[in-house]
């Protein structure tokens, strides 16, 4: 195939623009944006644009929750996780008070119970095998990683299985969401949330120092964290809820399953009002799908603007198998655990919901196991 790759004389040495994929990314984003604007949905267009910005920010900063968890567990290096908490702190400044003060806005909340803990734990295993979490899978797929195409396909399948498993796991019991602003008001809730983040940072620094590891976030994680945090606020303002990723995967998988002849409409999950409407309606009526598409095409544009797109060869079969297993586990775990690093960890803590911290603490041991399983698939523990 003839490739359309132009050298950019003014760019730094070695940089080039992949016109074909840059054009494809912009065309796809424009088409989706135009479709929702034709329906008069400015907020939907803003979600696509916000996702596009997130895709660029993640790609440029190489922001990875998966690698941050892995470095922290392997060596105590805490800069990545602190970068992740910068995202949360910036988002919390808007989400906690606005969700408490304005009825059209709401935080990311979730019940506390076995489903959350088991889901986050399994997600942690899958995240290390898949080599990317919900957002990581999106932006690396957009960035041209064939391996992550496999991870995404199985992530989608796993989340449909997760949707079928969630109701029986919820029946095991649990307690209603615990939200700081419910007890302390909007501003007290914000203070409590920021204090919890500060305590988290202090614990990460203490552990890093004890293990002789670096705890300072890199410049790209500080700048990227601030940019991603601000874009999280933008998505929250447009969609009315914190940014979430994995519900979109579940909807895509359910629509594909339905097209293949499977009837999910009688399953308990798909009879709840939100999922029921999402299954019936246009995929562009679902907030998480809109941002997901934006992230993929934003990362594609960013990658194609700097180098030949998807020019690497396919990875070994073992690595693809790890991507498939990791994707399945992440999909199933994300549904039981009420989201991924974005929907549960970032969205939960940024909303002042206790489930965000519970998700993080349950995900860590899952990551620990996942890291030790990586060599089985020819992957490094680092």
């Amino acid at each position: 195939m003839t490739t359309a790759i132009l050298s950019a004389p003014s760019a730094r040495a070695g940089a080039s623009i992949d016109v074909l994929f840059l054009g494809l990314a912009i065309l796809a984003t424009a088409a989706i944006t135009a479709l929702v604007l034709l329906d008069g949905q400015m907020a939907s267009a803003a979600l696509v644009i916000g996702g596009f910005g997130l895709g660029i920010a993640f790609w440029k900063a190489e922001f990875s929750y998966t690698a941050s968890f892995r470095r922290f567990l392997n060596s105590g290096e805490a800069g990545g996780l602190i970068g992740g908490l910068i995202v949360i702190a910036v988002a919390a400044l808007a989400v906690v008070p606005v969700a408490a003060l304005y009825p059209n806005y709401g935080g990311a909340i979730a019940p506390l119970g076995p489903s959350l803990i088991i889901g986050a734990f399994v997600f942690g295993i899958g995240m290390q095998l898949g080599n990317g979490c919900g957002s990581g899978t999106l932006y690396t797929v957009g960035g041209g990683s064939g391996r992550m195409l496999v991870t995404l396909a199985f992530f989608i399948a796993g989340s449909v299985f997760g949707s079928l498993s969630l109701p029986p796991f919820l029946a095991m019991g649990g307690i209603d969401p615990v939200l700081a602003s419910d007890y302390l008001g909007p501003w007290g809730g914000l203070v409590a949330t920021l204090v919890s983040i500060a305590i988290g940072i202090a614990i990460f620094i203490t552990i890093a120092r004890k293990r002789g590891a670096n705890w300072k976030p890199s410049r790209s994680y500080i700048v990227g964290g601030l940019a991603i945090g601000l874009l999280c606020v933008f998505v929250f303002a447009a969609g009315g809820h914190p940014w979430s990723v994995t519900f979109g995967y579940t909807v895509w998988g359910a629509k594909i399953a339905t097209a293949l002849g499977f009837d999910l409409s009688n399953a308990a999950f798909w009879q709840w009002p939100g999922p029921k409407q999402a299954l019936t309606n246009s995929v562009l009526s679902d907030t998480s799908s809109l941002t997901d598409f934006g992230v993929i095409f934003g990362a594609m544009a960013a990658a194609a603007a700097t180098k030949p797109f998807a020019s690497a060869s396919w990875p070994p079969v073992k690595s693809l198998l790890a991507g498939a297993v990791g994707g399945l586990l992440m999909g199933w775990g994300a549904r039981l655990g009420f989201g991924c690093n974005i929907g549960a960890f970032v969205g939960g803590i940024a909303s002042g919901s206790v489930h965000g911290w519970v998700w993080f603490l349950a995900c860590l041991p899952g990551c620990w196991i996942g890291i030790r399983l990586r060599p089985l698939f020819g992957m490094s523990k680092d």
Partner: protein, 50 residues
């Protein structure tokens, strides 16, 4: 891998556009949390409501 990406991207775009044009739309994009009784981003009910 580039060929795979072109096929997947173009197919995905066709499916997204086709699915949108042939499906009902709620108007404003919604999240499952927008519905009454939702207790999680996926729309799961609260334990106390059972």
């Amino acid at each position: 891998m580039r060929k795979t990406y072109i096929v997947v991207t173009v197919l995905a775009l066709i499916v997204i556009v086709g699915q949108h044009l042939t499906s009902p739309s709620s108007g404003r994009a919604v999240s499952p949390e927008d519905f009454a009784g939702a207790c999680a981003p996926c729309g799961a009910p609260c334990p106390s409501k059972k």
